[in-house]
Symmetry: C2
Subunit: 513 residues, 2 copies
C-alpha cells in the first residue's frame, strides 16, 4: 500500500488567502490531472504528506484560477500549521477516518468512553485531525450523559494536551467565574490584592467569544496580555501575579477548539463546562481554586439547585486531582460594576483600586469577598482575617501599587483607550423603581454597539436594581464608534431596554402598572 | 431593527469558483469597509438578503484578491441557490440561529421532538439553513434514541419536503434493498419483468456515495437516468416502469442532505434508515413495497435478529402511511452476480435478461424471487403463481423486450461502456474451497480501482462460496483505467483479497491448515 501510495504524483503547495477559522481546508483544481478530483468527491477529507509530516484537511474543489492543475491550495490556517514553504511538494490521498472516531460512534450508540479513548480523541482534536462536523459528533454524543469516570478522563486528557505550568511554591491560588454577568471584572482587582499580599496568583483569562468583553480584552486596555509562557513566568516571579490571555500560553488547547464548536451549537452541559475549566486549572499548576457561580434569572445558573449540582462536580474533579476547590454562589441578578465593554470596565476597575468615591461599590465588595477567600489559603494568615487583610491592601493603595507593577511588567498594549463618539442615553419609561435588569440583553446590546472589537464601545449603567427613577431619567448610555452599529444597538435598546421599571412604592407594594 | 439593518451598506455579488459540496459558503474581505469583517469573527453564519430572498451561509474571510472590499463572494453552490446575477446587490448581517435548533438542543438534553418541531427542522435543512455542524448535531442528537412518534413524523416531514408523485392507478409497486452487497443489481431485472406483466413500477435509484456502484450508475451504462419528473412520468406511461436516478426527481431532498452528513460520520441508526427509505417511497406514491434485507457476516445486517427489528420498523411505518410493506431476508453472505462496477454489472443484467447460459444464476434466481413477490400484488393474478409468471416473462424474452423499450424511452446516456484496460488477476493462495467472501473488502477494492467514476472499472468474480479452487487459479479480475488507482487496488488486493480459501475436503471436514 505504501509503495502504491508513493506512486501518486506530488502537488505543489500554494498558499490560499482564505481564513477558514480553525478547520484545515485545502483546495484542488477539478482539472487536476495528478489527483483526479472527481474521485475525491465521495471523500471530504484528505491526508497531506511531506516527509514525515502528515496533516488531515477538508477538501474543496475549484474549476480554475485559485490553484493550478499541479498545485494544492492550503487555506489559512492549514498553511500555517503545515509549515512547509509555498512551492514545496506534497502527496495527497483520501484520508482514513481517525481511529478514535470509532469510540465516538460507540458512545452515540450508548456505550461509555474508556479513558484511553478520550485521550486518543483529545489528541486527535488537538492536532486538528477532526473536522468540525466530527467535533460536533463528539460533543453532542457526550452531551446527553457523561459518567464521572469520563469527566475525570476528559479533564485529564485536556490538561495533558498543552502547556503544563509548574510553580516552585506550596500555594498557588486561582479564581474563576463561569461568566454570563456583564461587567464583573473582579479578577483585575482580586489579583493585585492577593499579589500585594505575596501569594502567587498566575491568572490567565479568555477573550470574549460571544460576550462584549473577556477579562483579557479588558486588561488589554491597560497592558499587553499576549505574553508567552516564559514572559508570563517572569511577570509572576517579579509581581507574584499576572493578568494574561490564556490563548497565547496554550493551556488546554483542545478546550479552545471544543468551545469554538460548542458555541454556535449552544451546547453547554455541566460536565463539559467543568472539564473545560478544570483542565486549564490543572495545566496551570493551581493548588487552591475559588469558583464563582453567579445565580440569577438571566444568569447561566438560574436556581440554587443548578448551582449546587455544578458545585459538586467541581469539588469532585478538584478532589481527584489534588486541587483544593472552593465554590461560592454569588448574586447574578444584574451586572456588576457600571461599565460593560473593555474601556468602560477598565475605568471601573481603576476607580475601585484608586478608592475613588464614585467607584462601583458592588464591584468593590464582590472583589474583596473573593480576595478574602483566596487570602485565607495563606497558612501564615490567622483564620477568618482574610477579608480585613484584603480591605487593608485595597484601602492602603497597596493593591493599586501592585496593579501598576503588573501593568509595567506586562508592558504597554498600545490599544486605543478612548470611548465611543456616538452616544445615546436610554431613558426610564416611567417613574418607579428598577426591578430587574436582563444580563443577556445588556450583553447583546453592548456587543452590537461594537464591544469587544471596539474597546471603547459598550454601555455605562446609571441605575441598578432597587434604584428609584423618574420618567425620562437616563438608565444607561450606549457608546459606539461605528454609525451602523450605533443604529443597531440604539434600535435594539429602544425595542427592549433590558430594564424592568416597576411603579412599586417604596414599601414594595404594587401601586398600579 | 429593520430600519437599522437597511442602513448597512450593500455588497456586490461575486461568483467564487469554489465547490463547497452542499454547504452555502460566502467569502468577504477582511478589509471590507462596508462590513467590518472582524465583527463577524464571533459569528460563523451570515444572512444574505436581496429583495425578499434570504439565504443563510457560512462565512470565510480573505485578505485580498478573491473578493474586493465592496464585494461578497458566493461559492458554488451558494451562488447557484441564491440565483442572483454577479454584480447584484445584497445586504449581509449576522444570521440568527434557525429557531428549530432550540428543539435540537432540547433533544440533546433528553427531550423528544414534537411532530411540528421535526417539520420545522426538515424544512430548515431542505432550504440549506443548517450548517453541516448543525445537521450533525441533529443527527447525533437523534441517534441515541428515537420514539416511534418521532420516526413517523420524520418520515412524513421528509416526504413532504420535495416532489410528491401521484399515479392514477390502484397498484403502484416498488422494491428497495438496503444495500451493502456488491453486484446485486436485481432492480434492473425485476423492473422489466414486472413492467412486462403490466404492473406499474416507477423505480428511482441512488448513485453510489461510498460503494462502487448504485443502480443509477449501472443503468446509466445502458440509458440516460437523469430524467425530470415529467420525463419520468412519460416513460412510466409508455412502459409501465422506469429505472431513473432519484436525485433529479427531487424525492425527499432532505434525505440527500442528511445522508451526506451521516456518511462521513458513519452514522447508521435503524430509525434514520427507515425514515430515509420510507420518505422516498411515500413521496413516490408507492402502494405496495418489497424490502430486501440481505443478512451476512460482512453485510449491513449480521444477524436475523437485527433484520427482524428492522423489518418491524418498516412494517410499522408502512402501516401508518397505508403502504403495504413486505420485508424479506435474503442471503447476504457474498456478492450477487459476478460483476462489481457499473459496466460489469450491466453485462450481468443483460446476460440474465438474454437468458445466456453463463449468466449468473444467483442474480437470476434472486431477481425472479423478488419479481414473484411483486407480481403477487396483482389482484388479477391467481395467488401463488407470481414466481411462474416471472419466469415465464423472463424465459420468453418479454422482460428483455421490455428492458429495450425502457432503454429507448429513457434515451441514450452517451457514457463509455468499455472495460478498464489495466487488468490483474488475483489468484487462489492454495488448493481448497472458497469459504467466505468479504463484501466490504470487495466493495472497497472495486472502488479504489475507479468505480463508479470510471464506469468500466471494477471487479469480475470467477469464484463464489463453495467453489473448489486450485492454487494459482484466478479468484477475480481487477479492471482499471488509471494506473495509480490500478496500483492501489492491486496492492490492497494482494494484502487482503477478501477471499477465505479453506482446505476443507468436500465433506466439509477440516483437512489441515
Amino acid at each position: 500500500m505504501d509503495a502504491a501510495k508513493s506512486s501518486r504524483p506530488q502537488l505543489k503547495i500554494r498558499r490560499v488567502n482564505l481564513d477558514t477559522g480553525r478547520e484545515n481546508v485545502v483546495v484542488i483544481s477539478s482539472r487536476s490531472k495528478a489527483l483526479r478530483a472527481e474521485v475525491f468527491r465521495g471523500f471530504s477529507r484528505v491526508e497531506l504528506r511531506a516527509g514525515s509530516k502528515v496533516m488531515l484537511a477538508t477538501l474543496l474543489l475549484t474549476d480554475d484560477g485559485l490553484v493550478g492543475g499541479d498545485e494544492i491550495g492550503l487555506a489559512e490556517p492549514a498553511f500555517r500549521r503545515f509549515a512547509e514553504p509555498a512551492g514545496g511538494l506534497v502527496t495527497v490521498s483520501p484520508a482514513a477516518r481517525p481511529a478514535s472516531l470509532d469510540a465516538v460512534r460507540a458512545k452515540i450508540q450508548g456505550h461509555s468512553f474508556k479513558a484511553s479513548e478520550i485521550s486518543a480523541i483529545i489528541d486527535d482534536v488537538t492536532h486538528y485531525r477532526y473536522s468540525d462536523m466530527e467535533i460536533a459528533a463528539f460533543l453532542v454524543g457526550s452531551a446527553s450523559f457523561m459518567t464521572s469516570g469520563e469527566l475525570l478522563a476528559l479533564a485529564h486528557a485536556m490538561a495533558q494536551a498543552g502547556t503544563q505550568l509548574q510553580w516552585d511554591r506550596p500555594v498557588v491560588v486561582d479564581k474563576h467565574c463561569i461568566g454570563g454577568i456583564p461587567g464583573n471584572r473582579t479578577s483585575m482587582i482580586v489579583v493585585p490584592i492577593v499579589a500585594a499580599h505575596g501569594l502567587t496568583i498566575p491568572k490567565t483569562s479568555s477573550r470574549a467569544i460571544t460576550s462584549p468583553a473577556g477579562t483579557a480584552d479588558t486588561m488589554e486596555v491597560l497592558a499587553r496580555v499576549d505574553l508567552s509562557v516564559d514572559e508570563m513566568k517572569q511577570v509572576v516571579t517579579t509581581c507574584h501575579g499576572c493578568l494574561v490571555w490564556g490563548g497565547h500560553v496554550n493551556l488546554s488547547p483542545a478546550d479552545d477548539i471544543l468551545i469554538a464548536v460548542e458555541r454556535p451549537l449552544s451546547l453547554d452541559t455541566r460536565e463539559q463546562m467543568v472539564a473545560s475549566i478544570m483542565s486549564k486549572k490543572i495545566a496551570a499548576g493551581s493548588t487552591h481554586l475559588l469558583i464563582d457561580l453567579p445565580v440569577g434569572p438571566s444568569s447561566k445558573l438560574t436556581t440554587a439547585l443548578d448551582a449546587m449540582r455544578l458545585r459538586k462536580l467541581f469539588e469532585f474533579v478538584g478532589d481527584h486531582f489534588g486541587i483544593a476547590v472552593e465554590v461560592i454562589m454569588t448574586d447574578g441578578r444584574q451586572p456588576i460594576g457600571n461599565g460593560i465593554g473593555p474601556v468602560l470596565e477598565a475605568q471601573d476597575v481603576m476607580a475601585v483600586l484608586r478608592n475613588e468615591p464614585d467607584a462601583p461599590q458592588d464591584l468593590r465588595e464582590k472583589s474583596l469577598r473573593l480576595a478574602a477567600h483566596l487570602l485565607d489559603y495563606d497558612p501564615e494568615l490567622r483564620g477568618g482575617t482574610g477579608y480585613a487583610r484584603a480591605r487593608e491592601l485595597l484601602d492602603s493603595g497597596a493593591a493599586l501599587k501592585q496593579m501598576h507593577k503588573i501593568i509595567d511588567a506586562q508592558g504597554p498594549s498600545g490599544c486605543r483607550t478612548d470611548l465611543g463618539t456616538f452616544t445615546a442615553d436610554i431613558k426610564a419609561p416611567r417613574d418607579g423603581i428598577v426591578e430587574a435588569i436582563d444580563c443577556l440583553c445588556i450583553n447583546r446590546l453592548a456587543r452590537s454597539a461594537g464591544a469587544p472589537i471596539d474597546k471603547g464601545a459598550g454601555i455605562k449603567l446609571f441605575k441598578k436594581i432597587g434604584d428609584r427613577v423618574t420618567q425620562g431619567e437616563p438608565l444607561y448610555r450606549i457608546y459606539a464608534f461605528d454609525e451602523s452599529q450605533y443604529d443597531l444597538a440604539v434600535g435594539a435598546a429602544t425595542a427592549d431596554s433590558g430594564y424592568v421599571v416597576g411603579s412599586r412604592d417604596a414599601d414594595g407594594g404594587e401601586a398600579g402598572l
